[in-house]
Symmetry: C2
Subunit: 424 residues, 2 copies
């Protein structure tokens, strides 16, 4: 099977069972594997060691198997599973049978119930494992690491408008393209966009939302982003779509935003801001938004302040952190903004990531022309891990609508959010 | 005019201009009045002192006038306006012309912009001015103070179902009765009630929501309340409506809740719990709610942690505090609950209080048979102050829907919240 959510993977690099220098696995190796299972909270999982020594059938449905190909991998896993599993899986030294997403769901769920891994939720959780806390220069490096690896790569598995954030599936079987358009519409309706308004977007990705707002709602958008690759694409598309006169893409940090706007919007940027800078972001919004303006922030979040895994921070998103709602309030409280509406779209993000992973797997031949097998496996792991974390509730997706405290020109009910969009 | 939102009051107790022992007002008195205006942030307000010495016409529209009837009142106002205005207004030693709600809107707005009154938002704000922090016994005293003054009094100005919490006006011109039913419906739809489910309600008031849930949705409700008067009424009504077999009203504190339930709901109780007890409340919900259960808390809130005024705490609601969203998260975070949805109904509560005040003024003859003029003026001030605080955004109204972290049996979109209610 090709789909890691349900099937197994063919490992095409790294060492396989029997072809390594560890010799046959020993009683000690099997004892260590047993220890690992126990340390993870005894998830329903089978570990198979090199040479075929099946270790354990803990739990009621051990149809998920982790194959560890050599002794070094076993030891590394024991020392720091959160870091080394990722690298060893990427290198093909670990294989999962029975579904990578399912593997991560059972392991994460088990770890979440295990005191050793259930770290105290604290206000500095995000700092752990962080090499770089998003200074102006650090943020640029962090963003470059993930987003500037090639638009052609992202084009293979994102929707046609290249939106790398949670979609909104009005029904569970909606297509990804439709769900991404529905997401933009939902945001525009919550914000109550009217022709002639000015919008500032902080962190615009490949620029789809800004173009949608300008093209469909007749607003003028200044969209900020520090990913050069994304800005390049965004400008090209704005020109092709004939909205370049109403959308300005600015290659700069959100902290440099100037001028005033009727609407502030940020989708999928807060994950890269870091809680140290939330009050600063609140200050940017405060100096930018008009008195009757409204704003919306969409971000990955979590229920308890927990640091990202070291592998995720090192290989995927350095500087990233998904806030709790409590932490997010630092943006709003000190400036007396009012939170009008919070919608949690967690399961929509699980579905979005499933769609991305499906398309990624379907286009592996193309990906292989760009990257090596380690990269391919790392990204499979990353996308599978996102699905698992959204499915089990370790990650959330918050859309937060806000306005200034005294703004009484607001819609009376939510009906407008769900009604067909206004025409420009 | 009878309506204090737009008109003036006939003062029928206390001292009036010219009939006091202060003599004519002096230059010093006028200077102090000027000081008061300045200390309040120079709101557009005129002060008239005993003997007719109009003091000031600060601002652009000084059509709101505060008449101070004697020197003692002037001095008390200078010392502690937040405490003494309430008592002196209630006693008739202060009168307001131009609308009591408007007076409080301009004064509160002005004070909010004045550093002296803009206290630092801190985690212990709620403790200031609090004689009593809601121990089991203290909470009972605090609730008795406000809610046990007579069901006949509340019947004069609440809706027919006697709901003393924010209504939901599907359109701005809906009637109070309709809006209170719509509020119950909105809550039931958000909770996705199904026949046969068990519900725990913490703080049930006169019991309308519990009866509505049982009667319309076929659920079984255990409803807790420590106001004896309210419980007595609630039981009578349940018997009359034929739902006594499915609704049990329990005269006890939320901390004594036992058993399990599919749904936890609390409307207008959190204001009386106090932030010291939010984690404890989270623990009660955690031990009560089933794995796939959902919950909803409706509460008055605020944007920044600010203590209630000493007058409000002393005369109206001892032990009360409306939390910020940040503070509310203490209920959910430590138990790994997921916030699914937050709706801010601030302007609905302004409208609810307007309707209450209208009905209160219309039934003054009846109120006069129960209470003296000081009481009547105090309650006018209280209801007017609520309107003003909701109108200017000093108070919010949050409806927070939540579930356990791993609950994936949730509605896909919000459509269900707005659709016509399910039939039992």
């Amino acid at each position: 099977m090709n789909n890691p959510a349900t099937g197994t993977f063919a490992v095409s690099s790294g060492r396989k069972g029997g072809r390594n220098n560890s010799g046959r696995c020993t009683t000690m190796d099997r004892w260590l594997a047993q220890k690992i299972l126990h340390a993870l909270g005894d998830p329903p999982l089978r570990i198979v060691l090199w040479g075929g020594g099946a270790v354990s059938e803990v739990g009621s449905s051990p149809d998920i198997t982790m194959i560890i190909h050599d002794r070094g991998t076993l030891w590394r896993f024991l020392v720091n599973p959160l870091l080394h599993f990722g690298d060893d899986y990427s290198a093909g030294r670990i294989e999962i049978e029975g579904g990578l997403v399912r593997y991560m769901e059972v392991v994460y769920r088990s770890m979440a119930a295990t005191p050793r891994f259930r770290q105290n939720s604290d206000s500095a959780a995000y700092r752990r494992n962080q090499p770089n806390l998003n200074t102006l220069l650090g943020a640029r490096k962090n963003i470059h690491h993930h987003y500037d690896i090639g638009n052609d790569f992202y084009r293979l598995w994102l929707d046609t408008e290249m939106q790398y954030t949670c979609a909104y599936f009005s029904t569970p079987d909606a297509s990804l393209d439709d769900a991404q358009i529905a997401k933009m519409e939902l945001i525009c309706r919550k914000l109550g966009l009217r022709s002639g308004q000015t919008v500032v977007e902080a962190g615009c990705g490949w620029g789809a939302l800004a173009r949608h707002m300008a093209g469909k709602y007749g607003v003028t958008v200044k969209a900020y982003n520090i990913s050069r690759e994304q800005i390049t694409h965004a400008r090209q598309r704005a020109g092709a779509e004939g909205v370049a006169g109403r959308v300005e893409y600015i290659e700069d940090d959100y902290r440099t935003i100037t001028g005033r706007c009727d609407v502030f919007v940020s989708v999928g940027m807060l994950e890269h801001v870091g809680p140290d800078h939330y009050q600063e972001l609140g200050g940017v919004i405060d100096r930018t938004l008009t008195e009757q303006g409204v704003g919306l922030i969409q971000t990955i979040g979590q229920n308890r302040a927990t640091p990202m895994s070291p592998w995720f921070l090192k290989r995927m998103f350095p500087g990233s952190y998904p806030p709790t709602l409590r932490e997010m309030m630092a943006i709003f409280e000190t400036r007396d903004f009012t939170v009008l509406d919070v919608e949690n779209l967690r399961l929509h993000y699980a579905k979005t990531c499933e769609q991305w992973l499906d398309r990624y797997e379907q286009n592996l031949d193309q990906v292989r022309k760009m990257f090596d097998e380690t990269f391919i496996r790392a990204w499979r792991l990353y996308l599978s891990g996102c699905i698992a974390n959204f499915n089990i509730g370790s990650l959330q997706l918050f859309q937060v609508l806000f306005a200034r405290s005294g703004n009484n020109l607001l819609p009376w009910t939510r009906d407008r959010y769900l009604n067909p969009p206004l025409e420009p």
